[in-house]
Symmetry: C2
């Protein structure tokens, strides 16, 4: 029999989080009466917490600011929003790759009924192989949509352990193989020394003239000059970039006028979707708290994440 948790939402007012608490089966109360706190806004600052507060939900995936301000202790349970925002970014990557192969970037720029250009520009994800380089929270969240569209996924993870829904998973030290093996490549790996300029002229040549490159990771993963050349020469079919190097991409940069390129200015995790994703997480964690189940995004106060 679930309880009805008494939850404070603050310090900033947030009707969507209030609604989420209620949707999860809680009731919203003043801080003095609260057994749980859903933190809205702020950057490490918190009102003083009554002893009765047993659980605090923080609003971000990275919680460095809260840890540094010293509020995160082991006297109660803390949860971060880690993983809550993966779906928004993953959906953005699916949208970018589909827009690429189906010529929608080119269509959006048309001002006349030019059927021929759209006819020639298109391929399909159906029957294709899509490499997801960095199949962590975000990368693996793309896989169900790609599979539903009839594509096969070749995942790359650090250790190469099988990823659900992927036809095959390779370890990071074999990432060089995927550019020839896949039709399209989606970059979702962290920016590290190992991934710096991971995609250069050689990799673009391996992707080939029917292949699209999508980057929703960090601009540093791609050698921009090599990409500009590859697009101009038709070495690859196109690129859809949420991130660039340099970033922001300066006005007048050749990528802005490249017909085979789509640029979303670092916006696959936009504010409205963050709010919705946090609300979804809050509702689920309130439900779990009420039912006595393990919460999502548990923080280890010793380790600080």
């Amino acid at each position: 029999m679930p309880t009805t948790p008494a939850v404070f939402v603050g310090p900033q007012e947030n009707p969507q989080l209030v609604e989420a608490v209620e949707r999860g089966g809680g009731r919203v109360v003043a801080l003095a009466e609260a057994e749980a706190v859903v933190v809205s806004g702020g950057h490490g600052d918190l009102p003083e917490l009554p002893a009765a507060v047993r659980w605090v939900q923080l609003p971000s995936a990275g919680i460095e600011a809260w840890v540094e301000s010293g509020v995160v202790d082991s006297s109660r349970t803390w949860t971060s929003a880690t993983g809550a925002y993966s779906h928004a970014v993953a959906e953005g990557a699916v949208a970018l790759l589909l827009a690429g192969v189906r010529g929608i970037g080119r269509a959006a720029r048309l001002t006349t009924w030019d059927h021929a250009i759209l006819d020639a520009a298109q391929t399909s994800l159906r029957g294709s192989t899509i490499a997801v380089v960095g199949a962590g929270g975000i990368g693996s969240a793309m896989i169900p949509a790609f599979v539903a569209l009839g594509a096969e996924v070749l995942a790359v993870t650090r250790r190469g352990l099988p990823v659900e829904g992927a036809a095959r998973t390779l370890p990071a030290d074999r990432v060089g193989e995927v550019f020839a093996a896949a039709d399209h490549v989606v970059l979702a790996a962290p920016a590290t020394a190992q991934t710096k300029a991971l995609v250069g002229a050689e990799q673009l040549a391996a992707i080939g003239p029917q292949g699209w490159l999508v980057n929703i990771a960090r601009g540093s993963l791609v050698d921009t000059d090599a990409l500009v050349s590859a697009l101009a020469e038709g070495t690859i079919a196109g690129a859809a970039l949420d991130v660039t190097d340099p970033e922001p991409l300066p006005d007048g940069h050749p990528l802005w006028s490249e017909p085979r390129c789509i640029i979303t200015p670092h916006s696959t995790n936009p504010t409205p979707l963050q709010v919705a994703a946090l609300a979804e997480r809050v509702a689920e964690n309130v439900r779990r708290f009420a039912a006595g189940e393990e919460l999502l995004g548990l923080v280890d106060p010793e380790r600080g994440y």
Copy 2:
């Protein structure tokens, strides 16, 4: 034990169909030695068929031209490509709706790193309800991708019988309900007297300022003037149109310069994808022919389809 069917591909040369026959387990032979014929190109004309030809695969979904020319008879089995092209159009519809909600139409027109416009323009399909008006071959082929993206589908079919993957199905005489009930509406219904101007000012108001309208059916289903007003006034979030009324859309029409509108000029079933889809169908039917299984797209010569 499957046989190895002897298949003629013609009258036009077509390496992709030759490859498809071989992939399906057949071997490509001259017409005089053929027991099956895969027709490539032509508009109703066929070479004279030897008596040994037991099966003819036609290349199109509609076969009026072949029926009118009198070649389709009941002395052998005929198959059309009906249904083979559904996936390409369905994928186009998914790409259009995703591009709409994720702001990719607007992104494609950027020439400067404008984060704010993309941030404000976006919603997500996750947690949304998508009405698929006309959940036949094409409409129902969209459903798995929408479901994989975390959306719920409200299908409309003529009789309202349950559609696989849809949360709910309504009969055509209740189509008026979906504009308020769903977040986004995809039109995939045939052009009939009943669907003419199905979407006007009232329906657009019901879709509301967060909702996208996608039309991959026929331009006549939408009242264009009402749509132009709704877009200009922000009554709906946007429209993604593969078909328009009039079509082609004339140069200078207000929809060409509407930032909330994406237009693909009747190109969700482009030639390269038709070729790929026909090849997939041919490979599958050759496999079935070899195994003695029922073929896809069987034509009833008496009825002519």
